[in-house]
């Protein structure tokens, strides 16, 4: 049953993606028009869709910064944090 459902969705991938985009837009619209923001602690939280930008930005920053840290040649030499799998066996 689970497999059938997943295959059903995969066969209609374009529609699924469109639906997801609509969902994203709805979430932001809800934030802009309906959400009561008096529980917010700081001023930027009152901006429209602040947390949406925050989430997207956080995701991009985390991926790019982490990959940079992993691939960067540290100490000006050959050392990278992402090392070959036999690094400790050599």
């Amino acid at each position: 049953m689970i497999v059938k459902l997943i295959d059903f969705l995969r066969d209609r991938l374009t529609s699924v993606i469109r639906l997801c985009c609509v969902a994203l837009a709805l979430v932001v619209a809800w934030d802009v028009f309906f959400v009561d923001k008096h529980h917010a602690h700081t001023w930027p939280e009152h901006l429209w869709g602040f947390w949406a930008f925050f989430g997207f930005g956080a995701c991009v920053v985390i991926i790019l910064v982490s990959k940079w840290i992993g691939h960067c040649h540290w100490f000006g030499g050959k050392f990278t944090i992402m090392a070959p799998e036999d690094y400790y066996d050599k």
């Binding site: 497999v3 932001v28 529980h39 925050f54 956080a58 995701c59 985390i62 982490s66 944090i81």
Partner: protein, 612 residues
Amino acid sequence: MINNLWVHPSLVLMLGGLLLPFVPRGVIRRLYLMAVPVATFLLIYFMEHGTHGVVPFMDWSLTFGRIDSLSKVFAYIMGLMCMIGTLYGLHVDEDAQHIAAWFYVSGSLGAIFAGDYLVLFLFWELMAFASVFLVWFRRGPKSLATGYRYILVHTFGGLILLAGIVLQYKATGGDLSFGPLADAMGGHHGFSVHDMSVPSLATYLIMIGFILNAAVPPLHAWLPDAYGEATVTGAVFMCAFTTKTAIYTLARACAGMDILVPLGVVMALYGVVYAVLENDSRRLLAYHIISQVGYMVAGVGIGTQMAINGAVAHAFAHILYKGLLFMGCGSVLYMTGQSKFTELGGLYKKMPRAFIFTLIGGLSISAFPLFSGFVSKSMIIAAGFEEHILWAAFLLTLASAGTFLHTGLKVPYFIWFGKNNCSKETWEKAADPPWNMQWAMGIASFLCILIGCYLPYLYNMLPFQEEAHHYAELVYGSYHVSETLQILLFTALGFFLLLKKLVPDPTISVDLDWFYRMGGRGFYWLARKPIQTVDNGVGEAYRYLGLIPLMTFSRFWSWFDWNGIDGVVDGIARTVRSVGESGRFLQSGRLQSGMFYAASVVAVLLIAYVLN
């Protein structure tokens, strides 16, 4: 028995473990395996608040059972996880694996109920020495070395803790009771009313002992090292007990200690960064333990009632969803023999149920509304905002985007979807795991959803009830739900846009364990080169100055022997040889079994002593 028939739950697990080898195989053994943790859990469940199990020992009185709102909730979740973990490992034939796991849990329960530092230390060490077997029993090419690293790091942490305890003993003039360290408080209202002062060396040492077990960088590298290498069921146990027991001790002793806030935030981010780089699914989950425990450490550091509630609630929820995630990835490893993303992919057709369970774990850890993380993690962040520690609150929110990115998206995507990297053999072996594993995952999934949907279940157990009820009214408010949905859904958008960047590489990530792994190598080199050279020199000298004359001398005696007293000596020689044989047998016993017997003997002695 002692004090109105109070039975320590650890005692049930230890005795149950020691009797396990005598239980006949088959259905009876399976029933027995479930009965022992269930009995332990019931014992915890019906335990009444108060001080029990006070035993005089030399000049001290040791307290084995301090039951209050804080220790009870931790013991409850540990007992619960012990049942789920044992069910998950029900198919394991080897008695020793169950015994090690149960001793490990007893260590954790003993530490939680400990009313003074001596008892705490005793169970603290039991935890380390029992859990290392869960690594060794994997019996892989790296297990032995990994286990030794694990136990050495924990021995080091234990020694620091002990040093702190000794200093504390001196400073307080002989008071070893395990409670809030007076000088750790930042003037907050956690479990203490003391004013702010500069923490003493004793306080720092005790705290360092605790945060080593909580895997706070730079003392964290043991965690992914060991948890990635443990047995399938061993990792399920390990991910629950060590770090969360440490959170309990921190909440008990160091609530409101300011330094814990930055440490916790660093942890939360550190785990996220390494999770991006990681290729092994179980090591990725291990890095996310560091990240999640970071929230709890920060919560303890903030130290308000709301923050302590948050740390406790998050520990409770975390044990269940992280156990679930380790069970999900563990079942993939158990069935296919693979745990690396570069060896897996596209498995949804073969292991659909494992996928659903892991997804539920992923959504819970990511704090999706209606799942457990949503009602626990947010409490810590909200406490940060309320105390106006804005930088910490924002950074923890950032880390929670990273949590969803990896555990909610990367793990399910690259194991069950994505590019199919499975070898033919892996693909053929892949299938949903045995019934007991599925049931364990099902129960954990149910609890994750229950906590998220039915607030009183968890909130009624929290130490500060008034705060908990107050927060219960806010948690499903429209602002909080909208905030979370925006963060999570837009993180998902970022994930799919940057998917190409996230395809795992077949690499390992060098962490701070480099220092002791390579440091150990330096020591080997020292042993091999200079020391060996000296040793060789001495050997050579001995050969010329000692051995050659000796040989000549012995040749004479050999002649004498042949021609004189052969018959007499023969008998003696045979005796000596047989003694030598038995000596060899004793010596060849592995260090691990030696340690295990020693630990068992200590446990039995302890039990006998308490029962007196």
